[in-house]
Symmetry: C2
Subunit: 357 residues, 2 copies
């Protein structure tokens, strides 16, 4: 069980760190690269190709972020965001293991460049070059490259690289063990995050994301896999899917079936705050231990509108956490301390901000 450690900034102020943001606003060149890959694989399913070039200038990167993520950070008082490639574009079911590798390297390289341009605003989290039927070795290599060479602090792991057919290995399968071992060695967590669904039954950012979150939690609960990886940490996004709302159901099933107790699982599994209304956040912080809730908004993401009932953006989750029934210490843990604890490679963002000033 990990210990609680709320780390204050040097000057005693608290930071607000969003642990879940994607680069959803990339210039068109990125999509064009991907389209060319897809055409090549359509013509030849065994296409290998080469990494090639995604020609995006620093100015174009800035222009894609300034009016979007950076503007919203300022408006909402978010100090920094853990930024990863666009989740719905990971598209592990598209192309093959070779194109997935090159695509992933480019997406991660772009994240690194963004974090170099804005070291006080963004911290890099990587996607993995998963591919249905392929082994996990290339994901292990890319995780090592990103963390050891490029300073990434975590990864996104797709529990269903098929895109909604759920026909690959479950999360407790030995298939994943080499990746889990390196996550533990490097002390980086995984956010368990699917990509777009190609199964017409599922709406990607609606039922597929939320269903996958619940499914991943349930696989961890029933398998007890964290007993084999006691230092591994998972973040379940989107407020944990259906889990906190059905906390009594899962708690009762675990007690009855002799699975891990939820308290024990809370040493390894964490939930973000991507729940887009006050009542949902209130429930989340009520039933889940505060030590296991990490601030996040996933902006700019699935819900971009203004709630007519409040006049504020649905995904402005800082407002909900600010208004929730929490002590100052609990709120600081959610906004900063828990994020630093789950992502211990997070840099000293305060110092970086000061060096910039």
């Amino acid at each position: 069980m990990l210990l609680v450690a709320v780390i204050a900034s040097e000057d005693g102020t608290r930071m607000v760190i969003d642990c879940h943001g994607h680069y959803t606003t990339a210039p068109a060149q990125l999509g064009e690269y991907r389209e060319a890959q897809r055409r090549a694989v359509e013509a030849d399913p065994g296409h290998v190709g080469e990494k090639g070039i995604v020609d995006i200038s620093d100015d174009e990167l800035r222009a894609s972020l300034e009016p979007n993520q950076l503007r919203l950070q300022r408006e909402r008082g978010i100090d920094a965001t853990l930024l990863s490639p666009r989740a719905s574009w990971m598209g592990h079911h598209l192309g093959n293991e070779h194109t997935s590798r090159f695509w992933t390297e480019h997406c991660n390289d772009l994240i690194r460049r963004i974090c170099d341009l804005y070291p006080a605003n963004f911290v890099p989290v990587c996607q993995l070059p998963q591919s249905p039927g392929a082994g996990i070795a290339s994901s292990v290599s890319e995780l090592r490259r990103c963390v050891e060479e490029l300073g990434f602090v975590g990864c996104n792991l797709n529990p269903d690289p098929s895109g909604g057919f759920w026909d690959g290995p479950t999360l407790d399968d030995p298939h994943w063990h080499p990746l889990y071992e390196v996550m533990c060695e490097l002390d980086v967590p995984a956010m368990i995050h699917v990509s777009a669904a190609c199964n017409p039954h599922f709406h990607s950012t609606g039922s597929h994301y939320l269903g996958a979150d619940t499914t991943a939690f349930m696989q961890a609960l029933t398998s007890g896999l964290f007993r084999d990886f006691p230092t591994m940490r998972w973040v379940i996004p989107h407020g944990g899917g259906a889990v906190p709302y059905h906390w009594g159901r899962f708690k009762g099933m675990a007690e009855e079936q002799g699975w891990q107790h939820l308290d024990e699982l809370m040493g390894n599994v964490f939930f973000d705050t991507c729940v887009y209304h006050q009542a949902g956040i209130d429930l989340l912080v009520d039933v889940v231990p505060t030590t296991n809730v990490l601030f996040a908004s996933e902006m700019v993401g699935a819900v971009k509108g203004i709630d007519p009932a409040t006049g504020h953006a649905y995904d402005d989750t800082r407002r909900y956490v600010d208004a929730a029934d929490l002590t100052d210490q609990q709120r600081a843990a959610i906004f900063e301390g828990n994020v630093r604890r789950v992502y211990p490679r997070l840099p000293d963002l305060d110092r970086q901000a000061k060096m910039e000033r």
Copy 2:
């Protein structure tokens, strides 16, 4: 949009009607019949067979219910339960369309017999003889048989008869239209309820049930299918899966994407109260209009234990509804009025109870 109509009993008292119970405690003969079917289909996938006999006496039916559902009804102050065959045993992915038909007829016949034995305690709801790849005609026939000949008041519709592979028609596909038309003609609702998962990614009563609930809601929301069936009614079980917890997400997406507004969808879609802790029920009745919440506990079902924090059964949902922040009128609507409105074929249970006395 349906009108609210809280119907009081003749003598002014309110009833508590549980809209979601399954016959989970059947004698062993039922399972033996099913096993024989499975062996026959294993030997010959095209096996047709015949309906045959499930030899269970009235005394055996009583013995299976008295210490279970009937005891819990009495202990918890539940007047009547809408009873349908065991959901996890519907097993539409097992056998073929012929065995599914005979199996379904037997399961529904048993429900009818139970309701004849205890007309004040149970009201019949049927399962449908769905089968992957088969047409919907046999489900239409069985629905007509159950409602027109046997007095059933509703049905359970499985949105994924594959058992977790989600490879059949989506709920807005014309495949389902003949069934929807008969549901409207007969004025009976469907509870959208999957059966056991055979996909190892999903735990049946955990991630599969809850994921399917969210998926069904999302398919209704994105397709606008209720505009073509304006009088059709669906009950989404298990508190609506992840939907109420993510109400802001769905509301925001619907507004942004130009789907049906949630308010409009609430003319057709209802949620039960199978959420097994106070915080979950509090959220449900806070965000979902009271007119759209139907009392249910799904006992004896997925969670049978006692919550050590309260000393009461997790699935004793009456306690949570009693304790929720509701007016007496709202509580009466959830306990009785809404159930009667959504299931208008529900008999006058009070009169039946009095005739028995």
